[in-house]
Subunit: 411 residues, 2 copies
């Protein structure tokens, strides 16, 4: 008998050198090691910086107090989330004219895990992503075996349909010309800051229904939309409940990047037909009950406060603060003659690097101005020649970074 | 062109009717609907009931206060966990003479997600589980395609090696006679309450090294071991770092079932050889950075307090409390002439149902005494004829449940 060994999931071999943000941290550290006095100004990772608002803090304290008494202590909750929170999320949708049942809502520990795990409930199939896009969509499909090898030439994985998002199409793609099965859309978009119109989303909903595809709609930045004509949810588009899952987050709307909370909507009307007709909701429920044990009860209590009238009002002022940062960044780089997109209904400014490669411009920006951005190419080949600047930061740091770019960038 | 549809991962079709605990909840609800005045006494799901200890409560409040000020606010942390917490966990191992590097420790949102997700980093291979065992091990391997169909006759999935745990072998199995690749061991065991000796673990470590297999060691209940001669970690056994991953939890040791916190150790010495030599640590790190965004910062701050000298001392008193419950349950059912195992170094009493089928005894117990247990067969076919009674509960409720069994069970 030949002794075989426990093997690794070989799809991991296909992954590129590293997840984008650790790579940025590494390059920044190398620069810091050489320039120990440099003050680094981070406009890179989209990490919230402003304190939680008073109503959420109060709720978190109350939640901790509840854990301090046997009468109010809680252990395991439902894997799908606290029913009061699920009801409140459903009410939020209802207030915008969208009917979502609490049973269609799955509370989670954030949008990243949900957008990573959602692919695992599907069989094989062709995946389409916006290019550029959040790396998690592609990487998790690579790991689960829905792609071929990474092609160094094209900087793309074989088998994935990359839908170009460029200045020419306002950073929202045409529907695929061939048949695909799973489509990831993110609006407001990370990294481009573009927001899809209802008409644009309708083209994808129509495509998905006609082509029996499923849309994974990442709405993590929805609360940054101030234009009332732009959709905050894909369910504002007729037909979406038959073809789309929506992933939402408390990270950027309420500052929960560290606290961890999100939710995913899997409508009952979303039916997939393979060996039989199946509600995707049932499968996601099976997945969550096996692989997950519910979001932290403290985080969920914080989420309840975040969705209260007072919490929403207070959190809006933090969103407004970050969006003022975005305006400062955008005007700053425009004053330097760069073309910049996004930053109006999204906390990211997507800046054209005037023909330089993304990583080259990353290095130039770091060395000359001590500002850290995120190389656009890290989000896919169509991101080449762009850099993402994040509006998350203290005002004085944002202003200092923009000033440094204006003063020190050698043009 | 035939229009294919996005398909569901067909392995979901293989899953049995439902996850065990929702099934129990459903049967209990049906009973309650018919008997609206009945007071249900739950010795079923292993859910903590006692308030968090003062030092943890204080740390949780401090953590929330930190989020209320820009100077101390934190957003995203490392996916692998707060480095201070990883260091402290390493120190806990060191205090028991086990050298584990912080880089070998991955903080998570709990032992259930980790024991569910760990299989995803492996390729195909033969899985061995103790029988009975925690259903998550089998279900997640079914979903990831490492099994065949469920055989209604044997109540087993094709392709899985079930290692019988019976009274005859003190509920710890012999090593497999053939070659397997991934072995799940849980000690103190859920559901049987049996604790493996060092000698018993050594047989599996030796087998794993000889057979190039990996052991997934679930130590979620380690803190319930009071006998100093029994190992709380598989790394107390020579060779284990070359073949074993260890999964730990704050749920049962510190009452974090709802707060959510755990950790998994993946030693650097654990190398798998397929297309090349690979450290499992690297792959798990890749997995965690793509699929996970770190445990809640509040939960992690609570974890720091739980591992402080004061936190450990206070938490020990809660463990002692639950173990006194276990003693009461065990003596109670023994006084009724039942044979009961476990309950000495583990918070579960594993009770022989005197020839009745597990679900039949579940119904009898519910109907006659209003006590909810967990049918042993829910943990696998070797659990048939047993029921698991959980020691997690308020003392008065445990006493009332035991009294009700003594008074009302028709023998």
């Amino acid at each position: 008998m030949v002794m075989t060994m426990a093997t690794i999931n070989l799809n991991y071999d296909k992954l590129g050198s590293g997840y984008l943000f650790p790579q940025i941290a590494e390059r920044t550290q190398i620069f810091l090691d050489k320039n120990q006095d440099a003050k680094i100004m981070k406009l890179g990772i989209g990490n919230t910086t402003e304190k939680l608002v008073p109503s959420i803090i109060e709720a978190l304290h109350d939640s901790v107090d509840n854990l301090a008494h046997n009468e109010t202590y809680t252990g395991y909750g439902d894997e799908q989330g606290n029913s009061i929170l699920r009801n409140l999320i459903a009410e939020q949708y209802a207030a915008r004219g969208i009917h979502i049942e609490p049973s269609e809502i799955f509370v989670s520990d954030g949008a990243k895990p949900d957008s990573a795990n959602i692919q695992s409930i599907f069989g094989q199939g062709i995946v389409a992503v916006q290019c550029p896009s959040y790396p998690v969509y592609v990487d998790t499909n690579v790991i689960d075996g829905r792609t071929g090898e990474f092609d160094e030439e094209t900087q793309q994985y074989e088998g994935i349909v990359y839908m170009p998002c460029t200045a020419e199409n306002d950073f929202f793609p045409e529907v695929p010309t061939g048949k695909v099965d799973i489509i990831y859309l993110c609006s407001p978009n990370n990294p481009t800051g573009a927001v899809a119109t209802k008409e644009q989303l309708q083209t994808f909903v129509d495509y998905a229904i006609d082509n029996k595809a499923v849309i994974i709609f990442d709405a993590a930045y929805a609360q940054y939309i101030s234009d009332p004509n732009l959709p905050k949810s894909i369910y504002e588009v007729p037909g979406a409940k038959e073809c789309a899952v929506e992933i939402c987050s408390f990270s950027k709307s309420a500052g929960f990047t560290g606290v961890r909370l999100g939710h995913t909507v899997v409508p009952m009307d979303l039916v997939v037909e393979d060996t039989e007709r199946k509600q995707l909701n049932t499968t996601w429920n099976q997945r969550q009950t096996r692989f997950f044990n519910g979001a932290s009860n403290i985080s969920q209590d914080g989420g309840l406060a975040a969705l209260s009238e007072q919490g929403l009002k207070e959190s809006q002022s933090v969103i407004d603060y970050y969006m003022e940062n975005a305006r400062i960044i955008k005007e700053g780089v425009e004053s330097l003659g760069f073309t910049a997109y996004g930053g109006v209904n999204a906390p990211y400014v997507w800046m054209n690097t005037k023909g330089m490669k993304s990583w080259d411009f990353f290095d130039k920006l770091l060395e000359e101005t001590h500002v850290v951005g995120t190389p656009g190419v890290g989000f896919g080949p169509n991101g080449e020649g762009f850099i993402r600047l994040s509006a998350f930061g203290h005002r004085e740091d944002i202003e200092e970074a923009v000033d440094s770019m204006i003063q020190n960038l050698k043009m």
